[in-house]
Symmetry: C2
Subunit: 224 residues, 2 copies
């Protein structure tokens, strides 16, 4: 069985991607990152999701991106947006270089396992302003990865899978439901409370709720 590293935040998108990787027959190694995000409670959700969807192993790695700041997700002095995501600007929830850091860590684990496949739940539709969610960024990372490692030099090429990058939230949910994802285990809210209940008003909650409506599926989210 081929191994894959799956970046798993504990949110809706990455849970779906884990289910897709499993359906494709991969033995999945779920990697979660405690980077100083406000919604650290998502990491507990990640552990539950990894178990529910049959990951072989889950690791959580800590790195304090709050030391750099520059994002509403890591700096409590920057207010969380609740007015909807605009198409023409990069939201304050963008975390500088986060996806590059996440992918670099996934690459490290993949090389050691070894695994030649990375799965990443980036989405270019919901947050169209995030530079590191675009398909051209993903291609550039895959290119880098195939120069970066001993494995690649020895001919074991790495593939970066981004199976939901072009899907709307409703389509993601439809696909996940077919694959048996229990979205009640996932946390999307940027300010979920310690019991993982969602605020219902932040942009992430709004997108998620609209996704369930679009899919015509009952929203299992627990709101405060």
């Amino acid at each position: 069985m081929r191994k894959a590293v799956v970046l798993l935040s504990g949110g809706l998108d990455s849970a779906t991607v884990l289910a897709i990787a499993r359906r494709e027959g991969f033995a999945c190694y779920a990697l979660s990152i405690d980077y100083g995000q406000r919604h650290r409670v998502e990491l507990k959700a990640a552990a539950c999701v990894a178990r529910a969807l049959g990951a072989v192993e889950q690791k959580t790695i800590s790195i304090d991106l709050a030391a750099f700041g520059g994002s509403a997700l890591t700096d409590h002095n920057i207010a969380l947006p609740t007015q909807g995501v605009r198409k023409d600007e990069i939201p304050v929830t963008y975390v500088p270089a986060r996806n590059t850091i996440l992918l670099a860590l996934a690459l490290a684990w993949a090389e050691v396992l070894p695994a030649q496949d990375l799965f990443f739940g980036a989405n270019a539709v919901d947050y169209s302003g995030y530079p590191d969610c675009r398909p051209e960024y993903m291609r550039a990372f895959e290119n880098l990865a195939n120069l970066a490692t001993k494995a690649a030099v020895e001919g074991r090429k790495l593939t970066l899978h981004t199976p939901i990058i072009g899907l709307g939230k409703g389509q993601i949910i439809e696909q996940g439901v077919k694959l048996g994802v229990d979205y009640g285990l996932t946390v999307s809210c940027y300010q979920a409370d310690a019991d993982a209940r969602a605020c219902g008003v932040c942009d992430s909650c709004r997108l998620r709720r609209a996704g369930f409506e679009a899919a015509g599926i009952a929203d299992p989210t627990r709101y405060v």
Copy 2:
């Protein structure tokens, strides 16, 4: 004064690069990473070097790459090599994806500062087998960085400087001495003791010692 992020390990190469960046007129922000390396004492050296060479600020970020293992530098069960670096193989001191992780973190800080210049003391001569020390890897990272960030999207392009990538150890030392680097502050040894004294037998010590000989400069290293 333009700002630059300089990756500073506490070793000889990165100290030289910090001196080069200062000479080029940059206000330097030194970034050191505690990644679970055996020779963590190099981090104390990094703090001294940053001060001696006039960095504006130094940050140390922790990330436990020993959680992945796969290298003699992070796994104490893998013996350190002492027989010299061979040109035709990748040494066991290679740390999977380390340079990608280091550069990703430097990119994060650069974006927040903001800075458009990164300096990295990679060297393609001494450790010719390290895949992530090659010029083509550096170009791929720069390409990625210029797709990854909000800054790049807004037109503030990032430049990755690798001023010693093609130099031999002796040439690096000659250049550093001209710029006033006190190599007595730096630590290269993979198993330096708590007092930062070098073993004198590991491959890193051997390369360093040969560098001082090649440059015809007295070796200031304190050996056990």
